[in-house]
């Protein structure tokens, strides 16, 4: 069962440009386990959408199957949602995005949904540079079937059941980079200060934006021998730098010391500030990003933050040269060539 969140809120909750409070971006009460990392990510999504003043009904949230994929019910209650089939969310988003290019597509998936059953669709959505945000709620295990290792579980990591995982992990950001993803980030469900601006930047990016969010499973994979536990991630996370996202309509008020920050203007005019960026990583250079990922991985650390971004990304609609008008708004006059044309075609077939 899903339960509606009580509508009563503090009357002085801050309102965004559209007059919406954060409550307008919330969904039903979560039925995930208490303390689940996924709920924190849902909270970050709510905050990011509120702060960006997005119209909730202009967002479509889609997911596959699993704990992660249940979470879209728990945010953005005014948005259409689609809980599709295990591992097949990317294809459903592809079709939806082709039908209406004017909505924002937020895909939510898990590590099983993405790195195992949905690997094929995940890679091809990247390859086509579908204009969507793809959030992986990555806990290294299958929660709904009680804690089996997933393909992102690290070698040697052990879940609550206690057996060390004998297989190497699939690193989703690394894979995405190799496949040509145009926006790649990693974060941690417990670090909203990092995650919220990353979600905002991803939502503004034109093209496929992956955020792999390590999100501990408190029930099956939060023990000491697990590399996806709160404790382990806190101790081993290394950030690429801090990301500040300044929406198009807002004035840039913070001043950043010269030499330590980089400014990126997004296609809608928003500005992304990256500061205290590590010397070792140029997030606008794919090979630098790949190297940094590998270097941190081999030293036993988890690199988080914005890892790579292609400022000149061209999304699938641009490649296909589809009409600016959403295809789902076209009517008979736009679509049907009429009988006269058909009679000419008949004539050519005699």
């Amino acid at each position: 069962m899903s339960y509606q969140v009580p509508k009563f809120r503090h009357p002085e909750l801050p309102r965004n440009e559209l007059g919406y409070t954060r409550a307008d971006y919330e969904g039903s009460v979560s039925t995930l386990c208490a303390g689940c990392g996924h709920d924190s990510i849902s909270g970050s999504i709510v905050r990011a959408c509120h702060e960006l003043s997005l119209e909730p009904h202009k967002i479509a949230k889609l997911s596959g199957i699993g704990c992660s994929s249940k979470s879209p019910t728990y945010f953005l209650g005014k948005s259409h949602g689609f809980n599709s089939v295990h591992g097949r969310m990317p294809s459903v988003v592809t079709g939806a995005a082709m039908a209406n290019r004017d909505l924002l597509y937020l895909g939510v998936s898990g590590d099983g949904d993405t790195a195992s059953i949905g690997m094929g669709q995940f890679t091809h959505a990247i390859r086509r540079n579908l204009n969507m945000v793809y959030i992986v709620m990555n806990n290294g295990c299958y929660g709904l079937t009680k804690g089996q290792d997933s393909a992102t579980a690290d070698e040697g990591s052990a879940s609550k059941k206690g057996d060390p995982n004998p297989f190497g992990a699939i690193d989703l950001p690394g894979l995405a980079l190799q496949l040509g993803a145009t926006f790649v980030a990693r974060s941690f469900s417990g670090d909203k200060e990092q995650l919220v601006p990353l979600i905002k930047a991803a939502m503004t990016h034109r093209g496929f934006a992956l955020i792999d969010v390590v999100s501990p499973c408190v029930t099956f994979n939060n023990n000491t021998a697990s590399t996806k536990s709160y404790e382990f991630v806190r101790e081993h996370a290394a950030a690429t730098g801090t990301v500040d996202f300044v929406p198009m309509r807002e004035e840039i008020t913070t001043s950043y010391p010269p030499g330590q920050s980089q400014e990126v203007t997004m296609h809608d005019g928003s500005v992304l500030h990256l500061h205290k960026v590590s010397e070792e990583l140029d997030p606008f250079d794919r090979s630098s990003a790949l190297l940094a990922l590998e270097r941190y991985r081999s030293s036993g650390q988890i690199l988080t933050g914005l890892i790579y971004m292609d400022k000149d990304s061209r999304d699938l609609h641009e490649v296909l040269e589809t009409s600016r008008r959403p295809l789902n708004t076209l009517v008979e006059e736009d679509l049907c060539p009429g009988d006269k044309v058909l009679q000419n075609i008949n004539a050519s077939l005699r």
Partner: protein
């Protein structure tokens, strides 16, 4: 030996090597006859291969208008030594075997009951052309020229046709006409012609066109307003999306901006293709995919979601011989059961069965109306025979006053007028509920689409009674659907009879021809062509009206019969099977033979002279 004699009624078969350009020359031959006003039915029987394996092209010519396969071959044009032993065996006694006599015929192959005609095709080519590719290509055109003389065809029609076919590539016209003349001249100067089988200009074509079903489906999708096509290449369905793209490039470019009013995505597999169709349809675009058996298997998972979540979905299934990879370039009607009940759990899918290119166009376009009106997958079941062969068809027509039926969709204003929106609330009592597109209204109408159980307001629930209520409503919708799908067509015998034939799709033409043969045998039958599943009430009444009904289909397991037995709880005493599943289209003679064998009082020895021969007989 008595040679076959016929005017405008015969079967000719070409035996070629795949990849040598023979299909275009054979098509030229068939189309020339069509232009002479003769009903023709060409069938390309090709291998799963790009170059080298044997391929055949059979043309039925019938002034009487029979367009199905008759069975048997009257004239064999043998251009492929690989298949010669098999090919000469197929010729009817008194028929004609035309071969390349540059090399002498193997004495062991010679049949005394067949007219053997030699044409030195290779020798002529070697004398005329130095380029090996030209030698190969023009060999085909030369035998077409030779046939024109042998059959007494109107040579001017062929040369005119060459001009039309190479419009825009004029420098190819003269060399092709020259090659035609080489063959023509050789026969005129060296052989007795015409042979016993000849053609004469007729007027049996009228306004009809020659078109393959896949192109008609692609055009149907254009006219039906499809904007999103998602697909994965698979024979024999590939040319559906090829045709859609070809016409979209001409007819769907925005005049102001030059941008495209369509999107075609070549998916990573059929699973993804179906996911894209569902995503686009959910979002209010008309979308479709085309596939064949193996793709249908992969799409089953998603078809269950679309059925249960009630998302309009259009799927064109161009059937081929299964199971597994089966015979990927041969025809069958063997996906009927897997499509009708596609997906796990209790599912029933709507099927349409077109028989002609015109029906492919009409039903293809109508699929989008039906899918949106009924909010469920529409699976149009065609096959390789209809899809990839040129079929003579009534011309296509579009009513310019026609409006698309977009089904029950609420606008922002509609939403403002209702108190509480429920996606799965049966407001009108027809078990079809109201949809909303994402992005319609800032406050109302949003809901969660899911494959898990939910209540009438689309809220997740695991309460058994809510689940059951929903499943009952889906069955009530199934009843509503019966009123919308195309009705069957019935042919009544002039004589009173308790025997009937029931067929669908590409079995139609051969079945109708078989009815004429049976009438000569003294067996009169009524006939019904089923055009959709769920079966309309007329189908049930028709079955009850007869003592025995022969269900004619092109698969091993009598799949439509199984479906009829399951839906109407009828027994095998009443429903008899007539089957063909060798990968070639069912022939009229085959149908007649199978029916005679099962008719009470008819000896198992056929009454007419019959020789069991190869393909499809």
């Amino acid at each position: 030996m008595k040679s076959l004699e016929a005017v405008n009624e015969f079967v000719i078969k070409f035996a070629n090597v795949n990849g040598t350009g023979s299909a275009s020359a054979n098509n030229l031959f068939a189309k020339a006859l069509f232009r002479m006003g003769l009903p023709v039915s060409p069938k390309n029987i090709f291998p799963s291969n790009i170059q080298g394996l044997p391929t055949w092209y059979e043309v039925r010519v019938s002034e009487k208008g029979y367009l199905g396969r008759r069975g048997g071959v009257d004239i064999m044009v043998s251009v492929n030594p690989q298949s010669m032993p098999q090919d000469i065996k197929e010729v009817e006694p008194g028929g004609y075997f035309i071969y390349d006599d540059t090399k002498p015929l193997d004495l062991r192959l010679i049949r005394n009951d067949v007219n053997i005609i030699g044409l030195p095709l290779t020798r002529i080519c070697n004398e005329q052309y130095s380029d090996p590719r030209q030698r190969q290509l023009f060999k085909n055109v030369i035998y077409v020229g030779a046939l024109a003389a042998l059959l007494d065809m109107d040579f001017a029609v062929i040369t005119q046709l060459v001009g039309d076919q190479f419009k825009g590539k004029e420098k190819l016209v003269l060399p092709n006409i020259h090659a035609l003349e080489l063959g023509h001249q050789y026969v005129k100067s060296n052989l007795d012609c015409p042979i016993g089988i000849t053609v004469r200009t007729s007027d049996q074509v009228g306004e009809k066109i020659l078109l393959d079903g896949n192109t008609a489906l692609g055009l149907g999708a254009i006219y039906g307003g499809a904007t999103v096509a998602a697909w994965y290449p698979i024979t024999p369905s590939t040319s559906v999306v090829d045709a859609y793209e070809k016409y979209a490039k001409r007819l769907r470019i925005d005049p102001g901006t030059g941008s495209r009013n369509y999107a075609i995505v070549q998916a990573e597999d059929e699973l993804a293709a179906m996911g894209m169709v569902i995503g686009a349809s959910w979002n209010g675009a008309r979308a479709f995919t085309a596939t064949s058996g193996p793709g249908l298997s992969l799409m089953s998972e998603f078809l269950g979601l679309a059925y249960f979540a009630e998302i309009p979905t259009v799927l064109f299934d161009v059937q081929r011989a299964g199971p597994s990879t089966g015979m990927p370039t041969r025809t069958q009607q063997s996906d009927v059961l897997s499509a009708a009940y596609a997906s796990h759990g209790d599912t029933k899918q709507v099927l349409l069965f077109p028989s002609t290119p015109k029906e492919c166009f009409d039903m293809g376009a109508a699929s989008f109306d039906l899918a949106e009106r009924l909010q469920t997958p529409i699976i149009l079941m065609t096959d390789l025979d209809l899809g990839m062969n040129d079929n003579m068809s009534e011309p296509l027509h579009w009513d310019d006053d026609r409006k698309y039926d977009r089904g029950k969709v609420l606008s922002a204003d509609d939403l403002d007028r209702i108190e509480r929106y429920g996606r799965y609330l049966d407001v009108d009592g027809d078990a079809i509920c109201y949809r909303t597109y994402p992005g319609t209204h800032p406050e109302k109408g949003a809901f969660f689409t899911r494959g898990t159980s939910r209540d009438e307001y689309a809220v997740y629930t695991e309460r058994g009674e809510e689940y059951e209520k929903n499943m009952h409503r889906l069955m009530a919708k199934w009843e509503t659907i019966k009123q919308y799908v195309p009705k069957p067509q019935v042919i009544r015998s002039k004589q009173k009879t308790d025997t009937a034939l029931l067929y669908y799709g590409t079995s139609e033409e051969s079945s109708r021809e078989a009815m004429d043969y049976l009438a000569e045998d003294g067996i009169h039958v009524n006939a019904m062509r089923v055009r959709a599943f769920p079966f309309n009430d007329e189908v049930e009444a028709f079955l009850h009206e007869h003592e025995r009904v022969f269900i004619i289909e092109q698969n091993r397991d009598a799949q439509l019969r199984t479906l009829l037995m399951a839906e109407f709880e009828l027994g095998p005493d009443k429903l008899k099977s007539v089957l063909c599943f060798d990968g070639t289209p069912i022939s009229a003679r085959n149908i007649r033979k199978q029916i005679l064998l099962q008719m009470p009082g008819y000896n198992v020895t056929p009454l007419r002279r019959e020789r069991v021969v190869g393909n499809g007989e």
